[in-house]
């Protein structure tokens, strides 16, 4: 099975296309809505989808994703549901690269080896585990490599240079730059040191560097796309989703235009 994320990145490089990555919480407001939103995201020109798996204690997340996670958990969403959604989408011919985003405990509880195998056979292309640095669960990380499930590493504003080099070296697919000190959630302004950090990271690697955390308006998305290889938008999508699926779809479309208009 081809890794759609690798394909997408190669293609974006050739076309000098910026990457727009959308985060959704699986099961918020319902599993059916998540499925519909993934399909409409693909149609809106979204390049990568982060399928957020709800966790009871999302300590890297702000109030918005805490809320969507709690709502989704009321429906007892399981890892198997995540795999089933992706399997169905792939059967429908959805070619959007999908990256699993979730905290380590539900993955650990599922069994890390089984997770890597089942995620890949469902058609997931990568994963992001915000509370799993490369020093922990190393067997799981090498199992993911074996299964060609791309393990995306995060780099933060507080990451020292030697460690940043190590992380971009290990990261597969793209590098996730955490654009601010803090949790996920919309912000009026992004930190002043963002540009300097992005430039520094881009000098370290040829892998695309995507910025996420805090990006909530088309203006911000456009500005950051000038400095980074793409942007990741999560909480702002969920905020629109609170008003309904179509509101979120319109927002995703607007953001996609902002990113790709660059």
């Amino acid at each position: 099975m081809k890794n759609l994320l690798s394909e997408k990145i190669k293609q974006a490089k050739r076309q000098k296309r910026k990457l727009f990555c959308v985060f959704l919480t699986l099961g918020y407001p319902s599993i059916a809505a998540t499925e519909r939103l993934i399909l409409s995201s693909a149609a809106a020109g979204v390049d990568i989808l982060e399928l957020g798996f709800p966790f009871s204690d999302p300590l890297a997340d702000g109030p918005t994703i805490q809320f969507s996670s709690q709502q989704a958990l009321k429906k007892n969403v399981s890892i198997k549901d995540a795999f089933d959604v992706v399997t169905r989408l792939r059967k429908k011919g959805c070619k959007l690269p999908i990256v699993f985003f979730g905290y380590i405990n539900p993955v650990f509880s599922y069994g890390t080896k089984a997770f890597a195998r089942d995620a890949r056979s469902a058609g997931l292309d990568g994963l992001i585990i915000p509370d799993l640095p490369p020093e922990e669960e190393t067997e799981f990380q090498s199992e993911c490599r074996k299964q060609k499930l791309h393990f995306v590493q995060l780099v933060a504003p507080t990451t020292a240079d030697p460690r940043a080099k190590m992380l971009v070296g290990k990261s597969q697919g793209f590098v996730y730059y955490v654009s601010l000190r803090g949790v996920t959630g919309t912000r009026k302004a992004l930190p002043a040191d963002l540009k300097a950090h992005l430039l520094k990271l881009k000098r370290m690697t040829t892998k695309p560097v995507l910025a996420g955390f805090g990006i909530s308006t088309p203006e911000q998305a456009r500005d950051i796309s000038r400095m980074a290889d793409g942007v990741i938008v999560g909480s702002a999508v969920i905020e629109h989703l609170k008003r309904g699926v179509s509101a979120a779809e319109r927002f995703i479309q607007k953001m996609s235009q902002a990113v790709h208009g660059v």
Binding site: N76, F108, L154, T158
Partner: protein
């Protein structure tokens, strides 16, 4: 055994550092600073000064003869951490971490608190060392520990109520970590227990091991030998870890940790993470965790806010697996009986947390022999719980 954890903070399969990347640097800096002060005589002199002249160490080791007589078997001693300034063992670690935060150049402390004891002890350390202080506390706990909330405010700390999840210690910890992620450059996260990412489980254990070291000297002086049993309550596990650790190599000493069984371990309302949990990852560490089949963290329940936590320090998980320490769970009701008995027989009102350790005595004492020595760690005093006790007794 004292070589644990390894350099990466692992106690066998447990512990470690499962944190968002933003916090890695802070954890590394803290580890480096902690390694440095570990060998720094001046730091330890300064800390000793505060522990002795300010907090009131050493605490007494008291032979509870009336309580012993009730069972008519072994001799029961109490390690009186309840006599410390602010009323619990928490001050041992907050003074040490406060000093350490100053060395790191941090100007602000954040802490989580369940019963409020750690919050009060942190606010107190912030006062002494001239640091700003924000304490996160679950909305449910704020209600049941109103006195401590008011104390923290008087001490100049800001108490921020946490309304997410179960609104107790677990959620207060999430919120404290979120604050730390946001303000990591000027803020020290003053974790209250032997939980969290490396180096906290090791560091807090070391700062609390003054309890066990003193106990060892005192019992040898008073009874001429080591004890047969040590008993302490285990929530996150800081008083017990500090109490147990200096005795781990003494194979003749049987060590017992008591978890909160809440309404009973066969009900969903308990906080017995070792007895009923399975390995999982929360708050930066791998340890026993109360979780559902999907790996979602379950709500803990205990009459005592300080034990109301769904996981436990990773070293406890290791000691459970290795068999060195035995863990049992005591219900709310038996803890209340423990409270009542100690109050009536010895004139000591323990906090509801160590009341759980006392609640285990009716099971343990009949098995002891006349000359056996049992030491119970009274980790804190009961003032904060009088209101709760009043509703039940």
């Amino acid at each position: 055994m004292s070589q644990l954890p390894d350099v990466k903070g692992h106690f066998g399969p447990y512990g470690g550092r499962y944190v968002p990347e933003t916090l890695v640097k802070a954890c590394e800096e803290l580890t480096a600073a902690y390694r440095k002060i570990k060998r720094d005589k001046k730091f330890h002199e300064e800390l000793r000064y505060y522990l002795e002249s300010y907090a009131g160490r050493p605490t007494a080791l008291y032979e509870a003869k009336n309580l012993s007589a009730k069972f008519g078997r072994g001799r029961i001693f109490l390690k009186r951490e309840d006599l410390l300034h602010t009323g619990a063992h928490k001050i041992n670690s907050t003074l040490a971490q406060g000093l350490l935060a100053k060395r790191l150049g941090k100007t602000r402390l954040v802490a989580e608190t369940g019963a409020g004891q750690h919050g009060v002890a942190t606010a107190t350390a912030a006062c002494v060392f001239g640091l700003k202080c924000v304490v996160y506390m679950g909305a449910v706990d704020i209600e049941r520990q109103a006195l401590n909330v008011y104390k923290m405010k008087l001490l100049g700390a800001e108490v921020r109520p946490v309304h997410s999840g179960s609104k107790t210690l677990k959620d207060a910890t999430n919120e404290a970590i979120r604050d730390w992620v946001t303000n990591v450059e000027d803020t020290h996260y003053l974790l209250g227990s032997v939980v969290g990412p490396h180096p906290y489980p090791e560091m807090v254990r070391e700062f609390q091991s003054v309890i066990g070291k003193e106990t060892r000297r005192q019992i040898v002086k008073q009874a001429g030998r080591l004890p047969n049993y040590l008993i302490a309550c285990v929530g996150g596990g800081s008083n017990s870890m500090g109490f147990f650790h200096p005795f781990l190599k003494d194979r003749s000493v049987r060590i017992v940790g008591i978890e909160a069984a809440g309404e009973g371990v066969s009900t969903p309302h308990h906080a017995a993470s070792i007895t009923k949990g399975r390995p999982g990852i929360l708050h930066g560490m791998k340890s026993y965790l109360l979780q559902d089949k999907n790996g979602q963290v379950l709500l803990a329940h205990s009459i005592s806010a300080g034990l109301d936590y769904p996981s436990v320090g990773p070293e406890h998980a290791y000691l459970k697996d290795s068999g060195r320490v035995s863990y049992y769970a005591v219900t709310d009701g038996d803890a209340l009986k423990g409270f009542e008995v100690l109050t009536k027989l010895e004139g000591i009102m323990p906090a509801l947390e160590p009341s759980h350790a006392l609640g285990y005595l009716p099971k343990l004492m009949p098995k002891t022999k006349k000359n056996d020595i049992v030491i119970v760690c009274i980790s804190g005093r009961g003032d904060k719980d009088i209101h709760t006790v009043q509703q039940y007794l």
